[in-house]
């Protein structure tokens, strides 16, 4: 799980182009959207692409993905439970 969380942080920093932010700067339990990192709807779409590309998880409805994308920890839990890889 720890490794998965670290991988996720690195992948998110890369796909969302969060220059100057390191994995250590991100609290895996902090909210990703609005507060915390302050991500928006486009970032959510990028995260959907990331989930499919890296973990083979298809999320069709961005609205229903809200709970999954609450934090890095919730993403990691979902990946562990659902990843085909």
């Amino acid at each position: 799980m720890e490794q998965l969380i670290l991988d996720l942080k690195k992948q998110i920093i890369e796909v969302l182009n969060l220059e100057d932010i390191t994995p250590e700067d991100i609290d895996e339990n902090a909210p990703l959207f609005v507060e915390g990192l302050g991500l928006d709807s486009i970032d959510a779409l990028e995260l959907i692409v990331l989930m499919e590309k890296q973990y083979g998880i298809k999320l069709e409805d961005p609205g229903k993905s809200k709970d999954i994308f609450r934090s890095i920890a919730t993403m990691a839990e979902y990946i562990q439970a659902n990843s085909s890889r």
Binding site: V15, L16, N17, L18, E19, D20, I21, L37, G38, I42, L45, E46, V49, E52, K53
Partner: protein
């Protein structure tokens, strides 16, 4: 209604956001010279700029600089001219689509590929709901934006306008244009220039814009006629309008490099380095021509 250039700022192959080029220009190298970046951390926090390519960061930095220097925080119009728009992101989206197929593409590249994302980013950054438009007409994209601003002043709709010229050049697209014979042996460069215009003459006003004319495939005769008609309407005989030497050897070439001609002329007019009446003529590959009539303040 008079229109004055209150402030101008550039990011280019020369040192950014200053006039160092006037005294000590950096030599250009063929075939492609990228811009020298400013320190964008002063203008943008990393979260705000996470999706921005260099062209957008340059646009924000030059826009904020002219806002600060002019003291006009909320311009009444934001107008941008760009030949190719955000070509780096366009290229990335296109390559991903063609090489990896039409699945799992990045939305960021797409939304950053549209030309008007530059002017809308400036608007979002300044929280400015004013008139906003983007011109994409080849080598006269910038002058089209300037003409629109000029007309908004004439119609009494605005008292200030932020007008920008933004083009980036990336190695792959550069090489394609090179294949097509576009550069003709000139130095390809990048353009980021912002101007703050207003109708109020101030101590620091740089120059006055008197008229903007756009012509499509003008004959020599039509061009002369347009210059004569405009000069006479402005009440200054044709002979008094001086065409200064081009600054292309200093700033290089792009779709919007006429903005550098205006910028350099304004800087020189302010310092008394040019005669009072200046005419800038841009002939883009024999198809589109623009005339900018300027005077000292």
């Amino acid at each position: 209604m008079p229109v004055y250039i209150q402030s101008a700022a550039q990011i280019s192959v020369q040192n950014p956001l200053c006039d160092d080029w006037l005294i000590d220009p950096i030599a250009l190298h063929l075939p492609l010279q990228r811009a020298i970046e400013a320190d964008y951390k002063r203008f943008l926090d990393p979260i705000a700029s996470r999706r921005m390519g260099r062209i957008l960061k340059r646009a924000i930095a030059t826009a904020v600089t002219v806002v600060e220097n002019s003291g006009i925080e909320q311009p009444d119009a934001i107008l941008v001219g760009t030949g190719l728009g955000c070509i780096e992101n366009t290229e990335k989206f296109l390559l991903a689509m063609l090489q990896d197929g039409e699945t799992l593409l990045s939305p960021t590249y797409f939304i950053n590929s549209t030309h008007n994302t530059i002017s809308s980013h400036i608007a979002i950054h300044l929280a400015c709901h004013a008139y906003n438009s983007t011109y994409v007409h080849l080598g006269i994209s910038f002058e089209s934006a300037l003409l629109d601003a000029f007309m908004q002043f004439q119609l009494g709709r605005i008292r200030s306008a932020l007008v920008g010229a933004h083009d980036e050049m990336v190695p792959l697209y550069f090489s394609l244009l090179e294949k097509a014979g576009f550069w003709e042996g000139k130095t390809a460069a990048e353009t980021a220039v912002s101007f703050m215009l207003s109708d109020e003459k101030k101590e620091n006003s740089m120059a006055e814009i008197k008229e903007v004319v756009l012509l499509h495939r003008p004959s020599e005769e039509r061009l002369m006629q347009a210059i004569e008609q405009t000069a006479s309407r402005l009440g200054i005989p044709k002979e008094k309008w001086i065409i200064p030497p081009s600054v292309k050897p200093i700033f290089g070439e792009s779709f919007t490099n006429q903005a550098f001609e205006l910028y350099a002329a304004a800087v020189k007019l302010q310092r008394g380095l040019l005669d009072d009446y200046v005419l800038l003529v841009n002939n883009y590959k024999g198809t589109e021509t623009s005339l900018l009539f300027l005077s000292k303040c």
